[in-house]
Amino acid sequence: MKQFYFSKFDNRKPYKAIPDNKYRTLLFQFFGIVTIALGFSYICWRWSHSLNPDALWFAIPLVTAETLSYLSTILIVINFWSYKDAKKSAPVHYLSEIEDLQERTDRPVRIDVFIATYNEDVELVRLSIIDAKKMNYPYADVPIKIYVLDDGRRDGRDPNKQNMKEVAEQEGVGYLIREHNEGYKAGNLKNGLQHTNGDIFVILDADTRPLPDFLVNTSGYFRNRKLAWIQTPQWFYDTTEAESLSNVIKSKLKVSNKFITKPLDVLFGKIEVNEDIFGNDPRLFYDVILRKRNYYNAAFCCGAGSFHRREAVMSLALKDFAEGLKKRHRELVHEDAGSTGAIQQKKELLSHQQIIPFKFHASEDIYTSIMLHADKDNRWESLQHPDIECKMLSTQDLDSWIKQHQRYAEGSLDIAFKDNPVFKKGLTFWQKVCYFNTIWSYFAPLWILVFLLSPIVFFFTLQLPVQAYSFEFFKYFLPFQIMNTITITLGAWGIATKRGDQYYISSFWFMLLSLISVVRGKKVQFNVTPKDKANAKNTQHIMPHIIIIALSLTGITYNVILLLLGYHPTPSGFAANTFWTIFNIIDLSVMIRAAKWKGSDE
C-alpha cells in the first residue's frame, strides 16, 4: 500500500470533548455580563471623553474599530453562553424509530455513506473506503452502503487520470459519476442522492476516515424526528508537531559542535515551537463555537463528517422546486401566455427546473443549514456531536490553507450579501444572531487593519488617538481587557487559543481581499483544497505582514532616538504603542513562519 506523509500520524489518538460543567458555565455567564458592562462603559468613555481633538482623523477610525470589535465580544459571549449536548442513545434499527411510517410497512433503516471526491489520489480515497467499511453497527439487517461520488470522472476513460472506478470495484463499494460538474460538491451530492435510497446518509470527503463507532455513536440521535443533521468534529490528525526551540536553532544555524549545542539545549531545550504552525486545529470551533450553538439550535453543517436525514434535505429541495416552478410559471404567464413560442419555452423552462437537496453554492453546507433552520413548516433541528468520530487531513502549505479559508470567507460573505440570514423569515431571533456572528467574523479585517496600523501612525506622527494614555484611560481599558481575557478563558475552558488568536490577527490580509472580492460582485469559486505539500509561492500572502512589521520596527527605532535626544513629547504614548506593536508583531509573525515552514523531515 502506498505510504503517505501522514502514515506516521496513524497512531495519534483523538482528543476528548470538554465535559460540560454547570458551575463553570454560570461563572462564564457572570464574567460575560460583567465584561459586556465594562466594555460598554469603556466604549462610552472613549467616544465621549477620550478623543484627541487635534487628531480626530486618527482618533475616530480607532474608536470605530474598537466599537466594532466590542460588538464581536458581545457576540462571542452570546455564542459561548451555554452547552446543550443532546442525550446519546442506542443506534437506530427500524425506520419507525426515526420517521412516521404513514401507512408504509416497517423495515430496518437504510444507511448510505458518500465519499465525495474530485481529483484526490485514489489511494488516499481507498484509505477512506477501507475505514468506512470497518464501521461497526449492531444490527446485521441494517444495510450500510458505501458510494464513491467521483466528480473527476476517473472511470478509466482518460488514461492520463488514475482509475477511481477500479479502486471502488476492488473495494466492493458503489461508484457514481455524472457528466458535468454543475453545482460542484452540492451537485455531486445531488447526483448521489438521486441514485441511492438511504434513509440517513453520511457525507465524507476524500480524506475523511471515519472511526469504527461513527454510526453507533450518532445514528441514535435521529430518534428526534425533528433532527435534520448531525455534525461531528473535524479532527485533523496530521497537524505539525511541536519542536524544541534549541533543535530549530541548531538546524537553522547548521551547528553540530557540542560546545554550542549543549548550551542551546540548556537554554532553549524546554521551549517548544511550531506546534500546529498552520493553525489548522479546529478544536475551538467544533468543541466550543459550534457545539455551544446547540443551545440556540443554530449549529450549522460543515460538510465532511456530517450525518443527514434524507427526508429533511429532500423536503427542502421539493419545496424549493415547487416554489421555483410557481415563479417561472408566473413569469411566463405574465409574458405571453397564448403564443406557441411561449408554450414551448414554458415546457423547456419547467423541464430545466431541478430538485436540489444541497444549495448550489461554494458554501453549500452553511447555506443549506440556513435554509433548513428557516423551514417554518418542519422546524428542523441540528446537532453538533461533541466527540470525534472521524479523522481528516489538514492543508500542508500556507497557499492551500489561505485558499481554503478564502473560500469559507467568500462563501459566507456571498450569502450575507445575497441572502442574508438576518432578514430570513423562519429563523428564530437567536439563530439570526448566531448566523450574524459567523458573517460578522469575516468583517474582522476592517478593524484588525486599524489596530495593526495605529501604533505605526503614532510612531511617525507622534499624535495620540486618545487625549493621553493617562490613569483615566487605563482605569477604563484594563478592567475590560482583563475581564474579557478571563471570560474567553472560561468560555473556551481546556482549549489552547493562542494559535487561533494569532491567526485571527494575521489572516487580516486575505480576509480583506475576500471581502473586497465579494463586495465587487466577483463569483465565488469552488476550489478543491489540496492536502499534500504544494510548492506554491507564499510571498504574496505575507508581504503585507512583512511591511507592517518593518514599519513597526522602524517606528520604534525612530521613537527611541527621539527619547534619547529628549525630544519625545509623550513617553507614555511610546511605551503603550510599543507594547501594543510587539503583540502585533508576534501575531503577524506566525504566518511568516508558516510560509517558510518546510517540515521537520525535509
Binding site: 460583567v34 458592562a37 465594562l38 460598554f40 478592567p479 509623550t570 513617553p571 507614555s572
Partner: protein, 97 residues
Amino acid sequence: MKDYKFLLKPTFFIFNLLFATWLVLKIEKVSPSDFGRYEKMFESGEIRPENVPQYDKYYLKKLADDYKSGILDSAMFDLQLEKFIDAARKKAVTAGK
C-alpha cells in the same frame, strides 16, 4: 424549597447585573490617589500653598490644559505638579521665616 428552585437563575442574573452596574460606577470614581501613592494633591492642607500668586495660577492652568490636550501624559503631569507644589511649599516656608 424545590418549588422555588426556578427562582435561582433569575436571582443570579439580577445579582449579576447589579454587580456589573456597581462595578462600572465604582470604576468611574476611581482616582490615582485611591492607590495610596499620592496624597490628595489639591485638598491636603499641608502641601497646599496658602496664597497662590496669580502667575502660579496661570502656570497651573497651563499644566492642566496641556494634560487635557495630550501634550503632557499623566507621568509628566504628576512630575510637573510635584515640582510646582515643592516650589510653592519652599516659597511658603521662606515667607514664614
